[in-house]
Amino acid sequence: MARALPWAGLVLLALVPLSGIGNYPLHLVISCLLWAYVYTSWSIMGRLGLVSFGHGAFLGIGAYAAVMLWNHWGVSPWLGAVAAIAVSALVALAIGFPCFRFKIVGHYFALVTLALSEVTRLVIVALRDQTGGSLGATPNTALAQGNTWSLGALQFSEKVVWFYIILVVWLGGLWVWARIDRSMTRLALEAISQEEDAAASVGINVTKTKLFVTVVSAVMTSLGGVLYAQYQLYINPETVSGIGISLQMVFGVIAGGMYVMLGPTVGAVFTLLLAEGLRLALGEHFKQFPALDLAIYGLLLVLFIIYLPKGILGAALDAWKNRDVPQFSEK
């Protein structure tokens, strides 16, 4: 029974577009799934003690690689995605190898990766003749003359198509998460995150193990960037790279729960529902309070980290596990 529950949930989720909900609610569901995928990608390394403040770099590389190749040379975003994956894997290796080799961990790792995401943002802005700079960029449309889709250009005007594409990608992300969760790599990395030298002394190749999850996480994030660009059809350096989006990923995961599979997904849903809930609650007045959702979000994050460090889902699962355990007294 308990095993059937996730499958039933998945079937229900897959039926969402057929239930006749409007375009806007469907857009919200797609956004939730897309960010859930990106947050899951981040958490693959984050949960193992590699807290990166630089994933905006990989998201930005993905988004801009696909759009620039398409706009300037007409290269299909499918090939663009391959290029994005290759570039982000190289960047992850270039930044990861020295970091892990020289044991840059904790604060220092977070701040080095933060520098990386700023470099990416600044390079995109500085190449304004090619990228459009801070004004952003739009992929050239391939949907002339009433076409609703173009597989080669990865452009679809029907939201339903995007729903299923991103649903599959999100499931893929969860699958990778689960694969790593059940692998020796996770055990090795948990040992590393607790005591690096002790882990090395029992024969774990610390640098190689860390590099592996870093590259996996970076490549997945950059794929998220490609999809974001193709779905939104608009990107700009602030929304896909730099410190803002990098921190948003970290905090989405923290809010949902870093150590459980669906934690990042809950974080993504929570973040979007918060903004949408306020929009509904305030109705007409919403425009008068331009950043209220962000203010509440910031406040909640502080409270979460102080009182609920395992995140929403992590805390909920703990409560569920402890529900019927008989309490023995000490005596």
């Binding site: 604060h107 600044l122 390079v123 102080i306």
Partner: protein
């Protein structure tokens, strides 16, 4: 060729002026890390609040500029103490990364609070000062003032830490958190004082920045990263290292911006930072 050289010299001198300001920017953050062992990711947002405070008191309430600035320093100092008392203290015993993250939540909150209170328009004090010309070179007056005040601020902090009783206690507790309480130093009180000083330094930096730049809610994001990187480059918590790093960074930005475009100056500075991290992860002056 002659003209070229004089402009290069101007860029170098401007870099030195910028270096003084960056040194002050990073000093408070560095002090807090050195003593309390916590990185305030929201440090640049405290500076933004200070800028808005000066703007509001001077432009909207009509206070004299110097009074508004003094009040601005005070407000941010109080904010720093409150931040420590209510947000850092509960997580002092938690994992280091949680301390980094909790101030990230504060970052979002302050940024949003500023947007709610002041909107996203760019605002400025409307103070105009004539540029100072030396030979064929010209320098902006606010930059020269900022440099002078920043150097004075750094010197005052140094004197406070070395010549006063409280300053000595702060330095002692940064070296050994376990032993000092046995010697009668109260870490809670010293941490709050240190946070207030860090806040006051942020407030002072705000007064200098507000003379040069427009204020908007996201301004913290534009100079926050560079402030962290300066501290890390100098060796987190190493005050002298931070000063050296500030001047190195300023030269990259100023001279790099002179040869290429200003963003490339920043890119060079960041790439330099990453390269140095691999060479000396503990910072240029940090000990092993």
């Amino acid at each position: 060729m002659d003209v070229f050289d004089i402009f290069l010299l101007e860029a170098v001198l401007n870099g030195i002026l910028l270096g003084g300001l960056l040194a002050l920017l990073s000093l408070g953050l560095n002090l807090i890390f050195g003593v309390i062992d916590v990185v305030w990711i929201c440090y640049a947002e405290l500076i933004m609040i200070g800028m808005y405070a000066v703007y509001m008191l001077h432009v909207q309430l009509g206070w004299p500029l110097l009074a508004a600035m003094a009040a601005g320093v005070g407000i941010v100092a109080v904010l720093g103490a409150l931040l420590h008392q209510f947000i850092i203290r509960p997580v002092l015993a938690a994992e280091p990364i949680n301390q980094l993250l909790v101030t990230g939540g504060v970052l979002f909150f302050l940024q949003a609070a500023a947007t709610l209170a002041f909107g996203i328009e760019f605002r400025n004090l409307g103070v105009r000062m004539a540029p100072v010309a030396i030979g064929e070179m010209s320098f902006s007056a606010p930059r020269i003032i900022a440099f002078a005040v920043a150097v004075a601020g750094v010197a005052a902090t140094y004197l406070f830490l070395t010549r006063t009783y409280v300053g000595t206690a702060i330095r002692a507790i940064s070296q050994d958190r376990q032993i000092m309480p046995l010697m009668g130093a109260d870490p809670d009180r010293l941490f709050v004082i240190t946070s207030a000083i860090g806040g006051a330094l942020a407030g002072l930096a705000a007064c200098l920045l507000v003379l040069q730049y427009d204020i908007h809610p996201a301004i913290g994001l534009s100079f926050g990263p560079i402030t962290f990187l300066i501290c890390v480059l100098g060796g987190l918590g190493n005050l002298v290292g931070g000063l050296v790093a500030a001047f190195i960074f300023a030269q990259f930005i100023s001279v790099g911006g002179f040869f290429f475009h200003i963003e490339w100056g920043y890119v060079l500075a960041f790439v330099f930072f990453i390269a140095v991290m691999f060479w000396r992860p503990q910072g240029i002056l940090g000990g092993k």
